[in-house]
């Protein structure tokens, strides 16, 4: 590979590592596996980089996320059993809430924890459309490319995922 090609790869792919890692974290619910998947996916991306013709920033992101998603699904098949039962760290990302109003903090944290739990309990096909839409802001067309399903399926999965989240959040106070 020419060094200019490597530079182009680094310019197109490396800016999207946060998005790649976030998707991998939600798919695996595990830091260690997510790191391995992103690393593996980046190398695959490098190997197939010759076939990537995109120029816009969003194209690079959707392309990398597609590879991350496929790597994660292959990974899950290979390691079926371990990755799905790995526990998810409940408190780690609750620390950004301001601490001046303890009640507000507790409420925000419990809302956040409830959301997290609800997301984690979704099937991965639902979880990924939520992450791609709500966190990454991908269009239905881009999500359809990443997940390899028609736009109509994206639309119905998103809707069903949201309904499940709403139900889970409404039911949640009685659980606690």
């Amino acid at each position: 590979m020419e060094s200019s090609e490597l530079e182009r790869f680094e310019a197109v792919v490396l800016p999207h590592l946060d998005a790649a890692y976030t998707l991998a974290r939600y798919l695996t619910r595990n830091d260690h596996d997510a790191q391995d998947i992103v690393q593996d996916a980046s190398l695959r991306a490098l190997r197939y980089f010759g076939s990537f013709r995109g120029t816009a920033v969003g194209e690079g992101r959707a392309w990398l996320l597609t590879i991350v998603r496929n790597t994660a699904y292959t990974w899950r098949q290979r390691h079926r059993g371990d990755t799905l039962t790995t526990e998810f760290d409940e408190e780690r990302h609750s620390d950004t809430v301001a601490d001046e109003h303890p009640e507000a903090v507790a409420e925000a944290q419990s809302e956040r924890a409830a959301l997290r739990r609800a997301i984690d309990e979704l099937p991965p096909e639902f979880r990924e459309v939520i992450v791609l839409r709500e966190l990454e802001g991908l269009s239905y067309k881009e999500i359809s490319d990443v997940a390899g399903v028609p736009v109509g399926t994206v639309m119905s999965r998103l809707s069903r995922a949201r309904r499940r989240l709403e139900e889970a959040l409404c039911a949640d106070p009685e659980d606690r």
């Binding site: 992103v38 959301l115 709500e134």
Partner: protein
């Protein structure tokens, strides 16, 4: 409009993915139907909550470094394929002279076994997220001085990026009852750990290879340093790496004399 179909349409509407005629029809329905406009408010609230509350996970620095190192290594590996045939042959011949003995010969006795286990444990621990490096740099002139004041020797640090084994960084480890230098190199997605500390005089020995828990361990002793190398990389490539290290050391020794 049936309820589930309406719900999906509403979601597409809120995502700004609905075509204009459908949008007009849906907006008219929302104005007329309190139940559906309650649903709309719940969906908007959910979307806000998701965007505000759902954690984003920034890629850890070690992951960035691993990805970058892996990409460099992969790029130089594919570039290597283009070297002329006779040149590749000459390189292969020069590597073949590095002889490897068997594992048992190298590690007689409980002391050797204990060090093997310590090296293996350090290697495995280093692969857990965030443990690979204390000083993260692919620049040997950053990594080497980092050890000043932390060790009673200044370990040789090489940059083998040209040979397809870029330096990732260094850290301190504790092996055989002393602080030792650990250097991390990478090859594609594989991490190679090099552990070294000053050798006892007169113990020089050539490289020996063995496998523990799926990791390859190599060990040799130069007149100056005791070396251990641990990795899940294939043995053939690890031997290439060891040959690079040995050549680096003998070049360094030659300039001192």
């Amino acid at each position: 409009m049936t309820h589930p179909a309406f719900e999906a349409q509403l979601d597409a509407y809120l995502d700004d993915e609905l075509a204009a005629p459908d949008r007009a029809e849906l907006e008219a329905h929302l104005r007329a139907c309190p139940a559906c406009s309650r649903l709309e408010r719940r969906r908007r609230a959910l979307s806000v909550a998701l965007r505000e509350q759902l954690a984003r996970f920034p890629a850890p620095q070690t992951l960035r470094a691993r990805v970058r190192a892996g990409a460099r290594a992969e790029a130089s590996r594919t570039a290597l394929r283009r070297v002329p045939y006779w040149e590749a042959l000459a390189v292969a011949a020069s590597l073949a002279v590095v002889a490897f003995g068997s594992w048992r010969l190298a590690l007689r006795g409980a002391a050797g076994e204990a060090i093997t286990n310590q090296v293996l444990a350090s290697h495995v621990r280093s692969l857990m997220p965030g443990h690979l490096t204390d000083v993260l740099s692919s620049d040997q002139h950053t990594v080497k001085p980092w050890f000043n004041g932390k060790l009673d020797f200044s370990p040789p640090v090489y940059d083998f990026a040209g040979g397809g084994f870029p330096l990732v960084g260094g850290r301190l480890e504790y092996v055989d009852g002393r602080a030792v230098a650990a250097l991390a190199y990478s090859r594609r997605q594989h991490v190679i750990n090099v552990f070294l500390w000053p050798a006892e005089p007169g113990r020089t020995q050539g490289p020996r290879a063995g496998t523990r828990q799926g990791y390859h361990l190599l060990h040799w002793v130069t007149p100056v340093y005791t070396y251990w190398v641990a990795s899940d990389l294939g043995l053939a490539e690890l031997r290439d790496f060891v040959a690079l290290l040995q050549r680096g050391d003998s070049a360094a020794a030659a300039t001192v004399r």
